[in-house]
Symmetry: C2
Subunit: 327 residues, 2 copies
């Protein structure tokens, strides 16, 4: 049984069996001769929450053509790449918890976390290279190149209050959008879809991924720790400028803007409470949700031409769920 | 002009032009649209010292068959993988300098170093996936899987005075041996060598890589900072048990063994001076060099059947150089 949020179980119904196969491939690939490495991977498995990228890939396959064995491999690959970024993010963010579990960085140290992330990325490419041709390896590697640039850019601009909305989108497209995009694209491509359908699925994944990241950034401010399993206001504390903050700085009174700027990277006590007040002044949460909704609408437009069916229906419901999970 | 130690220039003569092409591919692959990423890669380029792995790959190609365009790509790939491990090692080791240059970890922080290492490994796989078939991608990824396990194992056993010689060899075969081995193997394979020749070249690279690591560990204790460009006694300070220390602990008087054990991971002032005295008591440096020499002899035995020529001659001289660079 896949352990995902119960709301998602229904949406994943068309690919439930595919996901189980992907999960088995994921587990087999990571098995090491060293028991302590398997223990570390067990922690990684506990991070596996929404299985969003594998689900997108498998649903894209079934919505555009016929699903095949390569899809299960690729679903495991995209999840492994995603897990690698999470493990390295925990080093970067000095996070103690992820999905209510202690992080590898907090239990085994940053060194182990860096190495486990490396182990995951290496195995992702190893698994991908088991396919018959190089196409997926090329697309996955081109994607991780972009993800790394996104992370580098985000790190570079950390604590910088002058980050523009365009720069924010540049960062989140790279760090989140492209992996969702390539998941959908490869799902379609390996199902025998033509170029224009594969391109549409790529675009669907990109819009959806960006919408997801915007909402993730919103939930970092307003969500409750119980639901998303992490401390609130971490982005502000880490100096990561997100859409609500960028919008607020643009429209706030000079006093509020000054207070917000001062809190970036050094929030001080009660900052996570105060930020709610600052953003209310400019309706920046509402603005961000509106932008996320627009992205969802664009994603839906991309898959509109697909033939009706339960997989298409799930792709529609999945992007709507991005917004609805808290609003 | 390749900037390598002048002693190596002569040995690299048969593949000088190949190395220049590999270097160009390396540089092109890493070029980013973001100038700051190119600046970070410039620092990585300054780490490029011996170009040992590309040279092994290219010499193996010419010594066993005909060299081709794929070899230049693969030479860049193995160097990129090696650079990724160096950049992440600097995070793990909290090193301030590498080859007399400040490390990325020291100038841009650990976060940037983790991400630059990720960027390098991603581009290495991207470059490798540009080849016609999956063979090299599979071999490289299988190799990096093993390298990661070696690093994880080393990290796990850090500070543990009970590490045995067999465990030490398990670690260094994985973290250093297999990359040199796969470089030689792929050099031969893509030159059209048969299975047994490719296997012999793999074995040559493995013996040579392990010999190289033993000598690197010896030089960490006895080498001068001027020559290898790093602080002495770092392994002891970092709790990394190496062959000389393992041998010394086995044969030393109980007083010396006690002092050495106490210095692991917390060397205190003058420990790097004192370790010389401890190891002299048991002739542990001499022992380690003897073991390294035996590995070199095994490496030479593997390539003995190859037809004579300047590339074979360089492969012979290269492994002899491993020992001779300081003894």
């Amino acid at each position: 049984m896949i352990s995902v949020l119960s709301e998602l179980q229904d949406l994943y119904a068309p690919v439930r069996f595919d996901l189980t196969l992907a999960q088995r491939i994921f587990d087999d690939e990571l098995t090491s001769v060293f028991p302590f490495v398997n223990d570390l991977c067990e922690t990684v498995r506990s991070y596996r929450g929404k299985m969003l990228r594998p689900a997108l890939l498998l649903l894209s396959a079934r919505a555009t053509g016929k699903s095949c064995a390569a899809h299960h491999t690729l679903a495991a690959v995209v999840e492994m790449v995603h897990m690698a970024t999470l493990v390295h993010d925990d080093v970067l963010d000095e996070a103690d918890q992820r999905r209510k579990q202690p992080t590898i960085a907090s239990t085994d140290g940053n060194v182990a976390a860096v190495l486990v992330g490396d182990y995951l990325i290496s195995h992702a490419f190893h698994l991908c290279s088991s396919l018959d041709d190089q196409h997926a390896s090329r697309r996955i590697a081109a994607t991780t190149n972009i993800v790394c640039e996104g992370e580098l850019l985000q790190n570079r601009r950390r604590g910088d209050a002058t980050l523009t909305e365009a720069e924010y989108f540049e960062i989140i497209q790279r760090k989140t959008g492209v992996l969702a995009a390539v998941a959908c694209e490869l799902g379609a491509r390996f199902a025998g879809a033509d170029d224009s359908t594969a391109a549409a699925m790529h675009a669907y994944g990109l819009w959806a991924g960006v919408a997801f990241q915007i909402m993730d950034d919103v939930l970092d401010i307003v969500g409750d720790a119980n639901t998303v399993g992490k401390t609130l206001g971490r982005d502000l504390a880490q100096g990561k400028m997100t859409l609500p903050m960028i919008h607020c700085l643009r429209g706030a009174t000079s006093a509020t803007a000054k207070a917000l700027r001062a809190a970036i990277g050094r929030p001080g006590p009660r900052a996570s409470d105060r930020i709610g007040g600052w953003l209310a002044e400019t309706a920046s949460i509402e603005y961000s949700v509106t932008i996320a909704r627009e992205h969802v609408a664009e994603a839906l437009r991309q898959i509109d031409p697909l033939p009706s069916g339960d997989s298409k229906q799930s792709l529609v419901a999945l992007v709507e769920f991005i917004i609805d999970r808290h609003f």
